[in-house]
């Protein structure tokens, strides 16, 4: 499955929700299902400082693919990370660079969370993912 396919799958899943509570509940639950992020990886190098919430992301090259572990101390941001991980985790740098998040997150109605002014660390996290993909290309 490519990053594009993952996007389509998420769009299909989100179509089921007709109210905001279910949507956010689903996002929160996705966040809870993120793989465990051990405390020893919560280092300055992996940290992205948001104004209100913090994000940690640990990148690894695994063969042709880029592997990421990531988490936030806030539930919704963790859920949004989980969504982004479905798209960008264990992909080739090429695949990542060809899949910008904007229109997809807009389709999910979640784009406001990615704007630089939200300062929840997500905007900076996506920038970091793309920078790494560029360097590893």
């Amino acid at each position: 499955m490519s990053a594009q396919d993952a996007q389509q799958e998420l769009l299909d899943e989100f179509e089921f929700f007709d109210n905001w509570m279910d949507r956010y509940q689903y996002i929160i639950d996705l966040g809870k299902q993120l793989p465990e992020y051990p405390d020893e990886w919560k280092t300055e190098a992996f940290k992205i400082e948001g104004c209100q919430s913090q994000v940690w992301i640990r990148p690894q090259r695994q063969g042709d693919y880029l592997h990421f572990d990531a988490i936030s101390d806030a539930a919704i941001v963790s859920g949004l990370i989980a969504i982004l991980m479905k798209i960008y985790n264990d992909r080739t740098p090429q695949d990542i660079l060809e899949t910008p998040p904007d229109s997809f997150m807009q389709a999910l109605g979640l784009d406001k969370h990615l704007s630089p002014t939200r300062s929840n660390g997500l905007h900076a996290m996506i920038k970091r993912i793309f920078t790494i993909a560029q360097l590893e290309q």
């Binding site: 905001w20 509570m21 956010y24 509940q25 104004c51 209100q52 919704i76």
Partner: protein
């Protein structure tokens, strides 16, 4: 004379309690829906909504009297000057300052404090002098003093607060010495709601001849302020926190101090004569008002001050106390593990709280989906939050127009949000 001739004391008898239902009609924004639900606006400590009279005052000025103020000979300029100077008298009356020369218009509380730091502080303080601030200060009443302390070799000392969020007056007295040159404290804490005993703080500071600055940004909207009674040398406030527009505020300063202070910013408006050899400065208050101010906002701030006097700040304060007590009881009985940060007796309408296993940011985002506006984060008061062992809180803050029904809806919403995050 124009309609701005004098500030009439219109404060009617305020014995009857506030008619909140009627008062709400004065605020057009309160009929808005947010995410398909009626707005419940509980972010008043950040900024208040504006009543119709204030909106109209600003609009009317721009439509009918707009011109640059002072020195213009034409009719509009005269009208604009009258309106702007009328606002100064309205603010003078609001805080009962002895003279309108003591009312300096600034962009807000932050600029007012920076003015004192840069003018009075830079000219009067020297290495070894001490400044006392409280632990509950807003960053606006910490950072200007830190910058000055670094530049001039001053020492900044911090008056601690207890576990309820009450200022430790014994510690304050112990910190006062003949090296204390300035005491800078908030009238009301924006993060905790604590109302500080500013009269007593000032009285004690005067025993060591220290200058006193009160950050009144959160004070004026909730407490009747009489700067003469308090006895402080400086009192700073923001227009947008007293139901007026952003971009305008006031520094009250005792005339003798202001006279002795050098200008801070240079430019138009603040001069008497300018030549390349020597420039002489205008008298008070213009000496400290370089450049064209936010004139329409100034006029509207004056109207907001008038509205506050007409409505009665004591009545507003009393209503906010009721709401705060009611909300606190409801929150504690509905969410027994809630931790309220700041429980000073008689505190103003601010409830700062944390819920176990619920990040403040998540609470803020989810409750917004229900139309409830609260603030989350460090509230520009990081030191005092760290003192309570937290990095962020969620904060509901009340104004004259909030209702018990809104409190009920807020608590119900919080329960829903809590369930989602469990």
């Amino acid at each position: 004379m124009s309609e701005y001739a004098a500030v009439v004391n219109t404060s009617v008898s305020h014995e009857a309690p506030l008619n909140v239902a009627q008062l709400r009609q004065e605020f057009p924004i309160l009929s808005r829906e947010i995410n398909g639900r009626p707005l419940v606006y509980l972010d008043n400590a950040a900024t208040c909504q504006k009543p119709e009279v204030v909106l109209r005052a600003q609009d009317h000025f721009l439509r009918h009297s707009n011109a640059n103020i002072h020195r213009g000979l034409h009719t509009l300029s005269q009208e604009a000057t009258d309106a702007f100077e009328h606002a100064r008298r309205q603010l003078q009356q609001l805080i009962n300052a002895p003279s309108e020369r003591e009312i300096i218009f600034t962009r807000g509380t932050t600029e007012a404090i920076n003015l004192v730091a840069q003018s009075w502080g830079r000219s009067q303080l020297q290495a070894g002098d001490e400044i006392l601030v409280s632990m509950m200060e807003h960053h606006a009443n910490i950072v200007p003093w830190q910058m000055l302390a670094e530049e001039k070799g001053l020492t900044l000392k911090v008056i601690p607060v207890d576990e309820q969020g009450v200022l430790d007056m014994a510690a304050y007295q112990a910190l006062l010495s003949d090296r204390t040159r300035l005491v800078a404290v908030a009238h009301v804490s924006n993060a905790l709601g604590t109302v500080n005993p500013v009269h007593e703080i000032t009285r004690l500071a005067k025993t060591v001849d220290a200058v006193v600055l009160i950050d009144g940004a959160q004070g004026v909207p909730h407490v009747a302020v009489d700067v003469q009674q308090i006895g402080a040398d400086f009192y700073a406030l923001s227009g947008h926190k007293i139901y007026g527009p952003t971009g305008m505020g006031v520094l009250y300063g005792r005339e003798a101090l202001l006279e002795a202070m050098p200008p801070w910013q240079g430019g138009g408006e603040m001069i008497d004569q300018v030549s390349f050899e020597k420039t002489t400065y205008a008298g008070l208050p213009h000496k400290f008002e370089a450049g064209t101010p936010a004139i329409a906002e100034g006029v509207a701030m004056g109207r907001a001050a008038q509205w506050l006097m007409e409505t009665g700040v004591e009545r507003i304060g009393a209503w906010e106390h009721q709401l705060t007590r009611y909300a606190t009881d409801q929150l504690k009985s509905t969410l027994p593990d809630i931790r309220i940060i700041g429980e000073a007796p008689g505190k103003a309408g601010v409830i700062s709280f944390v819920l176990p296993h619920a990040h403040a940011q998540d609470i803020g985002l989810l409750i917004d989906q229900l139309g409830v506006a609260i603030r989350t984060g460090h509230h520009c008061a990081m030191p005092v939050l760290h003192h309570f062992g937290v990095n962020a809180t969620a904060r509901a803050s009340f104004a004259a127009y909030n209702t018990k029904e809104e409190v009920d809806f807020f608590v119900e919403s919080l329960v829903k949000v809590r369930e989602m995050l469990a």
